[in-house]
């Protein structure tokens, strides 16, 4: 528990000032580079140039078409599993204090995790050939 308390104590907002400054430097760099090329580069916009590229043929249909649901399924599964991965971080920091009891709890957690994993495999959520 001690380590947790310490971690909270050190994390005052002022400790995260570097990330704000770094953000400003990075944004400044990108905008500078894009701005310079905008000023230096030629600006000859013709109608042909500004249509979308479709390997040389005229554009067919709409590019805002529905995508396969599998991609979204993967994204949803990721959210579930990533939350489980995030739960490991506090355990990984504190597992020496938590000892065998904590290890048993984590084994149970991993067992639940694997049950869910076997369920999605049996359900065919990760089958792509159809």
């Amino acid at each position: 528990m001690n380590t947790l308390m310490l971690a909270v104590e050190q994390s005052t907002p002022i400790n995260y000032l570097p990330v704000v400054l770094q953000l400003l430097v990075a944004i400044g760099f990108v905008i500078f580079m894009v701005g310079v090329t905008h000023l230096l580069g030629p600006k000859r916009k013709t109608a042909d140039k500004l249509i979308n590229f479709e390997s040389g043929i005229p554009q067919v249909g709409n590019a805002r078409q529905p995508m396969a649901i599998k991609y979204f399924l993967v994204a949803i599964l990721f959210v579930l599993f990533d939350v489980e991965v995030i739960f490991f971080y506090p355990y990984a920091i504190n597992f020496k204090e938590l000892g065998t009891e904590g290890f048993m709890a984590v084994l149970m957690f991993v067992a639940f995790f694997l049950c869910g994993f076997i369920y999605i495999i049996k359900k065919g959520a990760l089958e792509w050939e159809e």
């Binding site: 000032l17 770094q22 905008h38 979308n52 990721f78 991965v85 290890f103 984590v106 994993f117 792509w128």
Partner: protein, 364 residues
């Protein structure tokens, strides 16, 4: 003589600090000035880094394919990448009429800014770190996962079927492989009990984790390298920008400097994941020591810590570049099978093995 040997990045940083603190009285302003200097130093480091990586990429490709590679501009073709950059600056940046113009221009900015933010907690040399925060590796994993938003944004806003398909593939791929990357980082966090980068490096003073962590840590190292290659969209996992089927993937419509920004982000990400692999598994800036071979260890100590860090990082970059010309590109179903049916279960079981090993103290 001793004075001369002790010139290092950390002494340089501390002398700049003492000089600035004598010049500026206010502590807050001093902090801000120092951080601004650090940010500018990072930019100064990044540009040559991307030149070196771009040159290295071409030369490694040429070497693997028995070609010569760039050899016209400058000695051994070293200035070719500079010439290319100058050319990209003078190119016209087009925004297609049908695209969502705001998101189209925002996407490259997000991708580059995210990859530059991730550089902050990396320890470049002994006591030389931009920002040693107490959640170091968690910061790296969380910030680097924002990049997927930029890629999806680029693909969707382009109003192009290739871009949309590439972005969707890339999104599914990046989020999937993030799980394995996270789990292999956790295996090191379990061993060290800290998320702080400097603590992780210090814990390897008596041996790098890849040696003293035995087989489980070696497995996490291999999983980390494979999964992070996929996470940064590099071949053989580059099917978000597979030229043969998707022309350019999510950056098909980008040109000029906006395209160069995606390229820049790719090289920075390549450096960051290699640096993370070097820090977590290969000891960061720690020199290579063998048990009680005092003479050997002393010779190794003479090599500057920054050279150790860059050497390890570039060794891993070299391996990842060789992947590109060694393995054929995966299909999207094979890609997701590899992650969900092989890497994820293996890394889950591996985490348990690492935990048992750490509880039992089965490491040096």
């Amino acid at each position: 003589m001793n004075q001369l040997l002790e010139i290092s990045f950390s002494s340089l940083a501390s002398s700049i600090h003492s000089w600035l603190s004598s010049a500026i009285a206010n502590a807050t302003i001093l902090n801000v000035v120092e951080m601004a200097i650090a940010g500018v130093c990072l930019l100064v480091f990044l540009v040559p880094l991307c030149f070196v990586l771009g040159y290295m990429e071409r030369k490694v490709a040429a070497f693997m394919q028995l070609r010569l590679g760039p050899n016209r501009v400058g000695p051994k073709g070293t200035l070719q990448i500079v010439a290319d950059t100058v050319k990209l600056i003078f190119k016209e940046g087009l925004t297609p009429n049908a695209s969502d113009k705001f998101l189209f221009n925002l996407a490259p900015i997000i991708v580059v800014v995210v990859s530059m933010l991730v550089m902050a907690p990396i320890a470049f040399a002994k006591n030389f770190q931009l920002w040693d925060l107490n959640i170091g590796v968690l910061y790296v994993t969380s910030i680097s996962s924002i990049a997927v938003i930029g890629i999806l944004m680029a693909g969707w806003s382009s109003y192009n079927k290739y871009s949309l398909l590439g972005a969707m593939r890339s999104g599914a791929q990046i989020v999937s492989y993030e799980l394995s990357v996270g789990l292999s980082i956790i295996s090191i966090v379990i061993m060290t009990g800290s998320l702080k980068i400097s603590d992780i490096v210090m814990s390897q003073a008596d041996g790098w984790w890849i040696f003293k962590g035995h087989l489980p840590i070696f497995i996490s190292f291999v999983i980390f390298v494979i999964a992070s290659t996929a996470e940064i969209n590099r071949a053989p996992f580059d099917l978000s920008e597979a030229e043969q089927e998707l022309t350019g993937g999510f950056h098909t419509e980008y040109s000029g400097m906006k395209f160069a920004m995606f390229l820049l982000a790719e090289y920075i990400n390549l450096f960051v994941v290699s640096a993370m692999a070097a820090t977590l598994f290969l000891g960061g800036w720690m020199p290579f020591h063998i048990g009680h071979w005092e003479a050997f260890n002393h010779i190794m100590d003479f090599i500057p810590s920054s050279l150790w860090f860059l050497g390890k990082t570039f060794a891993i970059i070299f391996i990842i570049m060789q992947f590109r010309w060694t393995f054929p590109r995966l299909r999207v179903d094979q890609l997701l099978n590899l992650e969900w049916k092989y890497l994820l279960p293996i890394s889950m079981v591996n985490i348990i093995l690492v935990t048992i090993m750490a509880i039992m103290g089965w490491y040096l």
